[in-house]
């Protein structure tokens, strides 16, 4: 076109124009961007799998089939999703206040430890009715996690000690602490695990009801998933419908304004860290009483606390969105056990998180391609 209007040749080029958004993008936009980021992450992950000598398409097919293929594996997916859901909720409430609790892993383990202590000390005898047993263990698990969250929270509030490092260091301490008990005091015949819990201390599982409903046979989904979903709903209400939730969100968005509004930030740091720890601890309690049925480090310290961070971020810290996202990640972890090389699920989680963070840029900025004539 340029040639027809002018005698001299004009160079026509295209330029990327990046400008800040003045208005928030439409409601569907963040969802599309997030899904796009996940797809992009899976694509990149596929390239890396191929680079390491694997077959990306078969790996992904395997993940889909091994996690949602039939009712049995779907049930296993929900079992894996339960601890992730609770640690993700723990991270979400802390992150909402820009409190970087990276210690959900350790708080999860301490929750499991405290709940196990009820059985192993023993605080309650094996003849205790199940409802009482479970209630006491829930309280103990939450207390254990809350205590592990209190320490970094207190240090942050009173001495301004960086909570990222302290919570992370306490993860390692928690693992060593539990190892001390299961290698020594509570070791079953020299093995690195405690004796099995009495059945009165197990969370009810679907297969327990197989007598009256035969189709439930073999399904290991346990009561923890109900606890996790209820916690998600309660947390959503607390964050979005209560005064405390408003304070948490205000401190996260604008600590200066929160201070002028008379909100006690120090107190809230300690409370939120304790709440966050308690939720992670509840996750640990649900894992020992619902799945492992004994205290043992290796299946406990499997990285649920870290996956929780990714899930919380992926769900944009919304407790209700955490429910489906946890189930997706539960699937990824469940199927990942059989995939070679074994690091694949971890790597894919990392790539998804990276592309997700990068994609946030698209929510804040508008990118336009404009034609420039020079």
């Amino acid at each position: 076109m340029a040639e027809s209007t002018t005698v001299k040749k004009k160079r026509v080029g295209y330029k990327l124009l990046v400008e800040p958004r003045l208005n928030p993008p439409p409601g569907w936009y963040p969802l599309v961007v997030s899904i796009g980021a996940i797809v992009f992450g899976l694509f990149l992950g596929g390239i890396l799998i191929a680079f390491a000598g694997g077959d990306p398409i078969r790996s992904y097919q395997h993940i889909a089939k091994a996690s949602f293929g039939d009712i049995g594996v779907l049930s296993d997916t929900l079992v894996k999703a339960t601890p992730i859901m609770l640690t993700a909720l723990a991270c979400a409430v802390a992150f909402r206040m820009k409190l970087w609790n990276i210690g959900a892993e350790g708080q999860f383990i301490m929750g499991a430890f405290a709940a196990s202590a009820i059985v192993l000390t023993p605080v309650l005898s094996a003849e205790t009715p199940r409802w009482l047993f479970i209630t006491v263990m829930i309280l103990a698990g939450m207390a254990g996690g809350a205590f592990w969250g209190f320490i970094p929270g207190y240090l942050k509030a009173k001495l301004n000690v960086n909570e990222i490092i302290t919570t992370l260091m306490m993860n390692y301490i928690a693992v060593a602490w539990v190892n001390f008990w299961i290698f020594g005091v509570w070791s079953e015949g020299g093995f690195q695990m405690s004796p099995k819990f009495p059945e009165t201390a197990w969370l009810p599982r679907l297969l327990d009801y197989a007598k009256s409903l035969p189709s439930l046979r073999g399904l290991t989904t346990h009561g923890g998933i109900l606890i996790a979903i209820s916690v998600a709903i309660i947390l959503w209400m607390v964050l979005n419908r209560s005064r405390w939730g408003y304070e948490i969100r205000l401190i996260g968005d604008n600590p200066q304004a929160a201070k002028y509004a008379g909100i006690n930030i120090q107190k809230n740091i300690i409370y939120v860290m304790m709440l966050s720890g308690a939720l992670a601890g509840l996750g640990g309690m649900s894992e020992v009483t619902g799945v492992i049925h004994r205290l043992q480090t290796s299946p406990l310290a499997a990285g649920y606390g870290f996956t929780g961070i990714i899930v919380a971020w992926l769900a944009k810290l919304n407790p209700l969105v955490i429910i489906p996202v946890s189930i997706l990640f539960g699937a990824l972890i469940l199927a990942g056990r059989e995939i070679q090389p074994s690091g694949v699920p971890k790597m894919i989680q990392g790539i998804i998180l990276v592309s997700l963070i990068a994609s946030d840029f698209l929510l804040r900025y508008r990118i336009r391609i404009v034609r420039v004539e020079a």
């Binding site: 890396l48 799998i49 680079f51 390491a52 970087w100 990276i102 240090l155 001495l159 301004n160 000690v161 960086n162 990222i164 490092i165 302290t166 992370l168 260091m169 306490m170 390692y172 301490i173 060593a176 602490w177 190892n179 001390f180 290698f183 020594g184 070791s187 870290f306 961070i309 990714i310 971020w313 070679q340 090389p341 074994s342 690091g343 694949v344 971890k346 790597m347 894919i348 989680q349 990392g350 790539i351 998180l353 990276v354 963070i357 990068a358 946030d360 840029f361 804040r364």
Partner: protein
């Protein structure tokens, strides 16, 4: 339980933390906090080990490790500097990514056997000095000696040279630096890259010198995070970082050695007769990191010194602010 041997080994082990901590000091001095040190170190350790197996040349391994970790750091640089995302989350993501990639690419490396390692030697005259000679200059790895030279160089570069002044300016007051014609974005990319190079070197120090081999995630075992903690204790000063790094190295060695003898301080050694008490020893480096952070934070409050003023804040040109 010979204190000289513990300190000697501590200096060697501490060299890992030394490189990683000083690397992070460079990045943070420019205003970018990179929590991905653990991931970058792991990538470095894996790359160094596998490259050395493939080529037989450990120096090539060191070079590849630094390059690989440096490249990984640029993901963080792009996300936080160009895309202005939160540095904490991006750094965490980088750790996950680094761990994941090194587990996938390092699959099977643990059974790869032994490789030719970097040389260790004694320095002729200096090793004769009483006490200091055996600790610092006897049968140390070449990377340990490089570390000694590196500490004063890093200090001098940051505090006494013009590029070092630009580095500090960018981290303290980027808009003023920008007004003076310093390219803030370029500087930050550069020093995040430097941090990556040094984290990669730290990883190579583990897998080719201090505790040779590839043990998946246990290769680093959280040392990257300890390095991030040490930066705060060191108050962003390479010389203080060196003291912290060597002290931590000695502590790690002491923990190993304390479980050996049957008699400790004239008493029956509980760690020998009940090995599970050793788990309390394992907690020590992590507990000490917390204690060191508390000390550092208290001192920072008292002396009113603190992090680089622009640490963690993305620089957006044309926006009002620091």
């Amino acid at each position: 339980m010979d204190p000289i041997i513990i300190l000697q080994a501590g200096v060697a082990t501490g060299t890992v933390l030394l490189f990683a901590t000083i690397g992070e000091i460079f990045a943070e001095r420019s205003g970018v906090m990179n929590l991905g040190v653990e991931g970058m170190m792991l990538i470095g350790a894996m790359t160094a080990f596998s490259t050395t197996i493939a080529t037989g040349n450990p120096w090539l391994g060191v070079f590849a490790a630094m390059l690989a970790a440096g490249l990984l750091s640029q993901i963080h640089a792009f996300i936080t500097i160009t895309l202005q995302a939160d540095q904490v989350v991006s750094g965490l993501a980088l750790t996950f990514l680094g761990i994941g990639i090194s587990l996938v690419l390092g699959e099977g490396l643990s059974k790869a056997g032994t490789v030719s390692l970097l040389p260790s030697f004694s320095i002729p005259v200096l090793s004769q000095i009483p006490i200091l000679g055996p600790i610092f200059f006897t049968k140390q790895n070449v990377l340990v000696y490089i570390g000694y030279v590196f500490i004063p160089l890093a200090w001098f570069y940051i505090n006494r040279t013009r590029p070092g002044m630009h580095l500090r300016a960018v981290g303290e007051y980027p808009s003023a630096a920008d007004a003076l014609g310093i390219n803030v974005f370029k500087q930050r990319y550069l020093y995040v890259f430097v941090g990556g190079l040094l984290a990669g070197l730290a990883g190579a120090t583990i897998s080719l010198a201090v505790s040779p081999g590839w043990f998946s995630e246990l290769t680093t075992a959280g040392q990257g995070w300890i390095a991030v903690g040490l930066v705060i204790f060191a108050q962003w000063d390479p010389v203080r970082a060196a003291f912290g790094a060597y002290a931590f190295g000695a502590l790690r060695r002491l923990i190993l050695d304390i479980q050996g003898p049957t008699i400790l301080l004239g008493l029956a050694n509980p760690f020998y007769y009940n090995p599970y008490w050793g788990f309390f020893l394992q907690m020590l480096p992590y507990a000490f990191t917390i204690i060191v952070l508390v000390i550092g934070s208290r001192e920072a409050i008292r002396k009113r010194i603190g992090a680089p003023a622009a640490l963690g804040i993305p620089y957006i040109r044309g926006e009002r602010g620091k």
